[in-house]
Amino acid sequence: MAELIKQHLIDPEICIRCYTCEEACPIDAITHNDDNVVVDASKCDYCMACISPCPTGSIDNWRVVKTAYSLEEQFSWMDLPEQEELSDGGDGAGATIEALDDAVHALLAEAHQGAGGRSLAPASASKASVNLFSPGKPVEATVQGSYRLTTEESDSEVRHIILDLGSTVFPVLEGQSVGINPPGIDSNGKPFVPRLYSISSPRDGERPNTNNLSLTVKREEQGVCSNYVCDLQKGDKVQLSGPFGSTFLMPNDRDAKLIMVCTGTGSAPFRAFTIRRQRTSPDISNSLMLFFGARTPQSLPYFGPLNKMPQEFLATHFAFSRIADLPRVYVQDRLRQAGDELAPMLLDASTYIYVCGLKAMEVGVEQAFEDIARGAGLNWQEIKNTMRESGRYHVETY
């Protein structure tokens, strides 16, 4: 199989030849003639510095190709060629680019597998910047604070860690992830592969207009990276890559209804979603639902603040599986209980479903939706496909 290239192209029909991108490119990969502004595939290293300065959006075009279009070909275009059909697979022709590093790309592809097909961002979502800092060229962030979210008695330690980006511009969207490279080398003498963590703060920071972001990290007994991250102290420096992910994003739409299903640290993106909504549209009610599973209230991250949320703004449905003398309840049980409310939402084009947490939760959640759909005389697989193809069904599990 020939190796496929993701080629960065500019749509000549939309481009107005202002050369802003050419100025923005740090390595002179962009050039022009009298007709078109074009990207040299042999030089472009996907740093994305040209993307946001473009006034037209013409800059943000990508084609997966076997042979890169030459400068001369691009100079002669009046329109952008369609994505060619690439029968030999690769990573899917024209797939949304979530990350440009193969390792990170693979991690995200795996995390999104549960959606049952190619993930798409909500149509109204803000455009995500990806790969501004690659794992090989990370940015240094400073630990601003690290707080234990679960009680001391709880057997799980989940921490809320705030990373300050100083003066580095690191634009993130709710639902995106960052990579952390733990220092040191593994048993084979190689550097550790980066670990991805969902950002749990909204795009404008923990507090509005602060240049920081937060992560929600659970300490795993054998986890090299989670122990490293959970042990970080205020003032420590961390090597951060990202942002990554361009599909698990929230819609920019006041009418959108979000059904969020999570366990444990899978709550991170939903904290970001909720705070974003609170900051932009605090007046909207009855459009956010959170199904959240944990062993006990003591081990459920953000239990305190979540309990203070007005139910009209965020309807919370907690499921606890290890409370003494009580039957075990899982998120899928809570979903079924809310079935009457959820069923009509499945057909509503403004409904978005997000599932985030451990891989193990997928099956139960899937079955719950199937039951709810069947009860209403609907076909869940069809609904799911429709939703996914319109950017309204998202799974991120690990």
Binding site: I16, T20, A24, M48, P53, S58, K127, V169, P171, N209
Partner: protein, 483 residues
């Protein structure tokens, strides 16, 4: 010292020039600020001041930081002072000082020349907001309304940029000039704006698009040449302004394009093949292509006048002094001094239009204008491509450089768009074929009805190919304040 890439919001005036440690300039700007707000508030109708507009605000001057989109009420837009990062060891790019370190302070010998350049540039910025103040009431869509306001707030910020330079580097004189920028007003009898084209009203949206396409493009060329200045603070200021100016070009090019597209599509739908069947086409609620061509003729010729006389000692002096360069100076392969070089000028003489070789230094204005013509023809090519795609037979053209000129070599001449010299009687008899008439203007104005439903557009203009910030078609770009 604050980080020059991020914007400091500590003081009232967001900036990346460490204003808080420059008390003198900060105080001067804070004193100027209320007058500015007052100017802004009197200009834009209150209903729009209170509306939420989806605007782009710069939070840093590097590629990742300067395009942040969110809803903002315009009076709360963070106008500020943003300069492109300082390039280490930058050198004067042209003229007799080429190769010497760029000036960080105003060189005494060029003080008045520099101040004049800054004042002229500064004067155009608020002028265009004044010219466009009525347009909000007839916007063909919320998308276009948002684009208008984005252009307006950025012109406002560009005024700030020039005022900063005046306050920081030009002392008491500079402060007085800064005040005068708010005192002069577009079209005013007593105190008009400095350049002719900026005293003409922008009566309708097609004029606005033509203005942003042709006249703002002159602004871009001027900024490009000032960005080459050996006076580093001016260069850095203009470099950042150019990134914003690109949006204005975008509004113009796509605005005219969408107007043309709506016309062609309506013609095809109605089965009209003759683009000159003007009444039938106008009955479709779109603007006929010949009228669009007339508007282009007008705005193009007015914009050519903005470049000044083809042969000019002022321009030669500014280039030679190294305070204003050529378009993309750094990419031009010559000695950047032009001492012995020649340039070809077209002159109007009794023998017709003749080419004459003159010292290149004296033809700096023409050189910039020639680059402009090339730049401006790019969009025309795109428009024609669009027309062709619909099957309509019509071609937009740029008129001859001598057509309808008030300044320079051709001001005394009567020249057709094709470049033929005619008598002034013939000009009078035929000018209505080439320039918009009052009746044309009245027709265009009759189509200017506001459309405020998200995702809907007035009949005479097609929806854009892409949303701003990748937003979907029915995005509510302006949340109108309902009084």
């Amino acid at each position: 010292m604050s980080d020059p890439l991020s914007v400091n919001y500590d003081t009232q005036i967001p900036n990346n020039v460490d204003l808080s440690s420059d008390r003198r300039v900060l105080r001067a700007l804070e004193k100027w600020h209320p007058g500015y707000l007052n100017w802004w508030n009197q200009l834009i109708p209150e209903k729009f001041q209170k509306s939420n507009v989806y605007l782009r605000t710069a939070i840093g001057v590097d590629p990742q930081g300067w395009a942040k989109f969110d809803y903002v009420r315009m009076p709360e837009y963070r106008w500020g002072v943003l300069l492109a990062p300082q390039v280490e060891d930058r050198r004067i790019p042209c003229g007799e000082h080429a190769g010497e370190p760029a000036w960080q302070e105003v060189p005494g010998e060029y003080r008045s020349m520099l101040q004049r350049l800054v004042v002229i540039q500064g004067d155009t910025e608020p002028a265009s907001v004044e010219q466009q103040k009525h347009l909000g009431l007839t916007a063909p869509s919320l998308y276009d309304l948002r684009n208008l306001f984005q252009v307006n707030v950025e012109e406002g910020r560009h005024l700030w940029a020039m005022v900063y330079l005046l306050h920081k580097y030009f002392g008491k004189n500079g402060r007085e000039e800064a005040d005068d920028l708010l005192r002069r007003s577009s079209g005013s009898e007593e105190a008009p704006r400095m350049l002719g084209a900026f005293n003409e009203a922008t009566p309708d949206w097609l004029s606005f698009f033509m203005f942003t396409y042709f006249t703002d493009r002159d602004g871009k060329m001027q900024l490009e040449s000032l960005a080459q200045s050996g006076f580093d603070p001016l260069s850095r200021t203009c470099r950042f302004m150019i990134t914003e100016e690109a949006h204005h070009m975008f509004v113009g090019e796509t605005g005219v394009g969408r107007t043309i597209q709506a016309t062609c599509e309506a013609m095809v739908k109605a089965g009209i093949t003759d683009p000159y069947d003007i009444n039938a086409i106008r009955d479709l609620g779109v603007i006929d292509l010949p009228t669009i061509q007339k508007k282009a003729n007008l705005h193009y010729s007015l914009s050519l006048d903005l470049f000044g006389s083809e042969v000019s000692t002022n321009a030669a002096n500014a280039f030679n002094a190294g305070i204003k360069g050529r378009f993309m100076e750094a990419k031009i392969d010559d000695d950047h001094k032009l001492q012995g070089d020649q340039y070809t000028v077209r002159r109007f003489t009794k023998d017709g239009i003749v080419e004459e070789s003159v010292p290149a230094l004296s033809a700096i204005n023409l050189r910039l204008r020639d680059d402009y013509v090339k730049d401006a023809s790019g969009g025309v090519k795109r428009w024609n491509h669009m027309i062709k795609k619909t099957g309509v037979e019509f071609e937009m053209t740029l008129p001859h450089e001598g057509f309808h000129r008030q300044i320079g070599e051709f001001k005394a001449a009567s020249i057709t768009p094709e470049g033929d010299i005619i008598s002034s009687e013939e000009w009078e008899a035929r000018k209505n074929d080439w320039l918009p008439t009052t009746a044309d203007g009245d027709f265009v104005k009759s189509l200017m009805v506001p459309v405020t439903e998200p995702g809907k557009y007035a009949s005479w203009i097609a929806p854009p190919r892409m949303g701003i910030d990748n937003k979907p078609g029915d995005f509510e770009y302006v949340q109108l304040h309902m009084a």
